[in-house]
Symmetry: C2
Subunit: 211 residues, 2 copies
């Protein structure tokens, strides 16, 4: 168990977690080897072992890691037992998809509500979650100490929404608008530009010689 971890390792942990919980109950009761996990996921066994070393108390030679304990360790490490509240601003299709996304719960997040400035939407519910007016965002987040926000508004409104969020004490912002947001220090932004992602994926092999 070594708390020094790279983001690459961090990004593979959910993969292991996913794989382990998908195992039939019979296999969960025993042990599992890094070799077996690597095989199943098409990875290198040493890599898996190194990754696991950073979250677990170690496995035993010839036996492997106790499966249930390992699941617990990874889950705990990733904070999947948390219940962090998340708000979503912009109730277009994207925003609605966020409110309906069930997989957040698996990772310890709970979307507690949506915000929009369209009066026709304010007051409605989506997937049982209320839609509030953006003007209430500040008080809502401060009251509940919400620290995570998702921006799914059109490009033009993104920076304004971002400012409102940071003003409300939001510390982590996931931004789906295709613009670069500027934020005060201490606020982490992740820009998720779908078109960009697609471009990176689909253009890789097109062009000349790529390593």
């Amino acid at each position: 168990m070594n708390k020094n971890i790279t983001s690459q390792t961090l990004s593979r942990l959910p993969l292991y977690f996913n794989y382990l919980i998908s195992l039939p109950e019979s296999r969960k009761s025993g042990h599992i080897s890094a070799t077996a996990i690597a095989e199943a996921l098409g990875l290198n066994d040493v890599q898996v072992r190194k990754d696991l070393a950073s979250v677990s108390n170690g496995g035993r030679p010839k036996v492997g890691y106790p499966t249930k304990e390992l699941i617990g360790d990874i889950g705990k490490f990733l904070g999947f037992a948390n219940h962090d509240g998340v708000i979503v601003v912009g109730m277009g299709n994207f925003g609605r998809a966020m409110l309906e996304n069930r997989s957040f719960a698996d990772y310890g997040f709970e979307v507690v509500g949506g915000f929009d400035c369209d009066e026709k939407l304010v007051g409605t519910e989506i997937n049982g979650k209320p839609v509030r007016n953006v003007s209430e965002l500040g008080s809502f987040c401060r009251e509940r100490n919400i620290q995570i926000g998702i921006i799914t508004v059109p490009e033009a409104a993104a920076q304004e929404v971002c400012d409102i969020m940071t003003g409300a004490g939001i510390k982590y912002i996931l931004n789906f608008a295709p613009v670069h947001l500027s934020t005060p220090a201490g606020v982490a932004v992740h820009n998720e530009n779908i078109s960009l992602t697609l471009a990176m994926l689909a253009r890789k092999n097109d062009i000349g010689d790529i390593k």
Copy 2:
């Protein structure tokens, strides 16, 4: 202008492109330095220079790169003048958002249609784009030589849809279902797990030291 390019460089090019086109018109008419770009995007200036060297004819010392030319070069290189057809399978909110996303066009993509297996949706139009039955996917894609597909179906159906896509000759898959897809060689998959992204964003500081 050197056509040997790494995928890392390639993945940064759209970033530069994005930044450059977002500049006010006044600054676009002049020149821009690698240093300035690096500063704005939080990257190393040498890295930016090296990246740009692979697509542009070079800048001038003390002056930088002619901005408009650079935009053109990157855009041309990335194929943003293309019109690559894209299909979307799964007409939930997510899928609908994809059909309505205007920013694809900026990057040379055109969503040509959606697919679903819900008969209530098949035959309708979303944002002027027809929704077809998944059973027609194969013939549709082969006829039009579609190579790019986006998966926005629930977890359980993702692998099946993936198989149908690869069977239809799709070469690039953007997958929003939170599962690892297995594909034949020659098919590129990008898994976009929103929950995971959020976890990495919001948990980074929680957990010990992350590099």
